[in-house]
């Protein structure tokens, strides 16, 4: 181990800071609960889409994929655990580290509007989740990633776009 590190440092240069934690996430939890979670639940979390643990971006939502919520209470409100899980997983796709654009915005946006290819658009009729950046849902996600915040006692929205 020592020899390996010595070789790497001497010949290849410094290897420090490659295994450092990611910068702290500045995304607002209250805004997520009130303005982002409703959009994800209504427009992304279908069982054949992201309401499935098979997807890297897997979303819990009432009436869809649930975590330890009884089968007889499928429409019960999202639990704190589910909300935390959704916040964490959405945060991972809100970074710009990988490709320069947050995948949470680029994937559901139609390619003709500048978004990335999204297989969901092929599977369900050819239109993507957000046809333009003017979509209210897109605007809410973009606002969250840009640093928008909400008071802790906010009420979840019901207008999430078409």
């Amino acid at each position: 181990m020592v020899i390996r590190m010595l070789l790497v440092v001497v010949v290849a240069g410094c290897v420090t800071n490659l295994d450092a934690p990611a910068p702290p996430v500045a995304l607002d939890r209250a805004y997520f609960r009130c303005d982002v979670q409703p959009v994800l639940a209504a427009r992304c979390a279908f069982p054949a889409c992201h309401g499935s643990a098979r997807r890297p971006l897997a979303i819990y939502a009432p009436g869809r994929e649930r975590y330890q919520v009884g089968w007889d209470r499928p429409t019960e409100g999202v639990t704190p655990y589910e909300l935390d899980a959704n916040f964490a997983i959405a945060s991972g796709f809100a970074t710009t580290t990988a490709t320069g654009e947050p995948w949470l915005l680029a994937k559901p946006l139609a390619t003709r509007a500048g978004g990335y290819y999204h297989r969901g658009a092929d599977l369900y009729g050819g239109d993507d989740v957000f046809l333009t950046k003017d979509d209210p849902g897109y605007q809410l996600l973009a606002g969250w990633i840009a640093g928008a915040s909400a008071p802790a006692g906010c009420t979840p929205i019901t207008e999430v776009g078409p």
Binding site: R4, L7, V8, V11, A12, G13, C14, V15, N17, L18, D19, A20, P21, A22, P23, V25, R54, R55, P56, L57, A58, A85, A88, I89, S91, G92, F93, T95, T97, A98, T99, G100, W103, A106, T111, G114, G115, Y116, Y117, R119, D122
Partner: protein, 366 residues
């Protein structure tokens, strides 16, 4: 007819030995001065790769080179890889299987600047549905010490355009620049040694848009490796003729980069001339690497750099194979088979795989 290596053993034909050592990126043939105008060859080969991770690749190659009336040899090749895969990388991204073709076209000109000095310039294009690459290579080689040694210097640049299937909006670039310094030295009547050092620096997108980090506690994110990488490799090789019909080729390669990967590669090949025209080669190869500093089998918290690329994990492989060659007056034929075992020590999705490669080829000389 003796083995090519033995025929080429006189110092005057050191160039052929040096070509065997593959020190120069573009110098696949002898020095230009050693080739008669109008001579050349054409090759065709077909190789099939299959592994236990549900991946198959069929590779078809045609290659040719000719010595022009002026002191220049020109070569060109075309290659097609037909890939079909349902590996764990693919299915873990919720894709059942993909099939695609990669096409590579390349040409190289080797210029005889003087009786002992050649220059090479080469261009290669490679394209598939989500990756385009263009590479330019320049090299100079010079014979030294009364043709008992050859020094080779080469540089190259590559520009890659990284895309994503079906996605016109996703386009990243990856630029790579590199240099190589090589020396081949005759150590005795039956011994040739070569040493080569290679350095390269890559800058740009070096991840895969298809891979995702699946962390504990339902964290997930696209793969995010660093954008810069500097690599070093040092290779030493000995070719030893034993008796009149045996050649042992042993080489070792040390590789390390500033991502923290350190690897060792050792290979030994034994070639025996069975008859005047028939030769048999047995080969074994071993490889071992330690993972990149930022690679983890599982991530329990978001890190600045993250990857699930198994090529950056800790693994070893062992490969062995046999090749049978037939050399005629104008035609050469060869067939080979290799099998390998890979063991991934910290890659949870796949602990190992077994590979089989079979290939056959023919060369026509004029």
């Amino acid at each position: 007819m003796r083995l090519q290596l033995i025929v080429a053993w006189s110092p005057a034909s050191l160039a052929l030995l040096a070509a065997l050592s593959a020190l120069s990126a573009g110098a696949a043939h002898a020095q230009v001065a050693d080739q008669a105008a109008g001579t050349g060859d054409a090759q065709a080969s077909l190789a099939m790769y299959a592994d236990s991770d549900k991946t198959t690749v069929v590779t078809s190659v045609v290659d040719g080179h000719v010595r022009l009336p002026v002191p220049v040899t020109v070569s060109a090749h075309a290659l097609v890889d037909a890939v079909s895969s349902a590996s764990v990388d693919v299915v873990s991204a919720a894709t059942p299987r993909f099939s695609e073709n990669r096409i590579e076209l390349g040409t190289t000109a080797q210029l005889g600047l003087s009786s002992g000095t050649d220059a090479t310039i080469g261009y290669t294009y490679s394209g598939e549905n989500d990756w385009q690459s263009q590479a330019l290579e320049l090299g100079v080689s010079r014979e030294l010490a009364h043709k008992n040694a050859r020094l080779t210097v080469g540089v190259g640049v590559t520009r890659n355009h990284v895309g994503r299937a079906h996605d016109p909006s996703f386009e990243k670039t990856l630029d790579v620049g590199g240099a190589q310094l090589g020396l081949a030295q005759v150590l005795g009547k039956k011994t040739l040694a070569t040493v080569a050092y290679t350095v390269s620096h890559a800058r740009g997108y070096q991840g895969s848009p298809y891979r995702f980090i699946m962390m504990m506690d339902r964290l997930a994110a696209p793969e995010s490796p660093p954008e810069a990488r500097t690599r070093h490799a040092l290779t030493g090789r000995i070719l030893q003729v034993i008796g009149r019909a045996n050649v042992v080729d042993a080489q070792y390669r040390l590789y390390l980069d500033d991502w923290g990967i350190l690897s060792h590669t050792a290979e030994v090949a034994y070639t025996r001339e069975l008859t005047d025209q028939l030769s048999l080669r047995l080969r074994v190869r071993g490889y071992r690497q330690h993972h990149a500093e930022f690679y983890r089998e599982t991530y329990d918290a978001p890190m600045r750099y993250m990857t699930v690329d198994r090529e950056l994990s800790t693994f070893w492989d062992a490969t062995g194979g046999v090749k049978l060659g037939w050399r005629g007056e104008r035609w050469d034929l060869e067939a080979k088979a290799d099998t390998g075992v890979y063991r991934f020590e910290d890659y949870a999705r796949l602990r190992g795989r077994v590979t089989v490669v079979t290939a056959a080829g023919a060369t026509w000389r004029w």
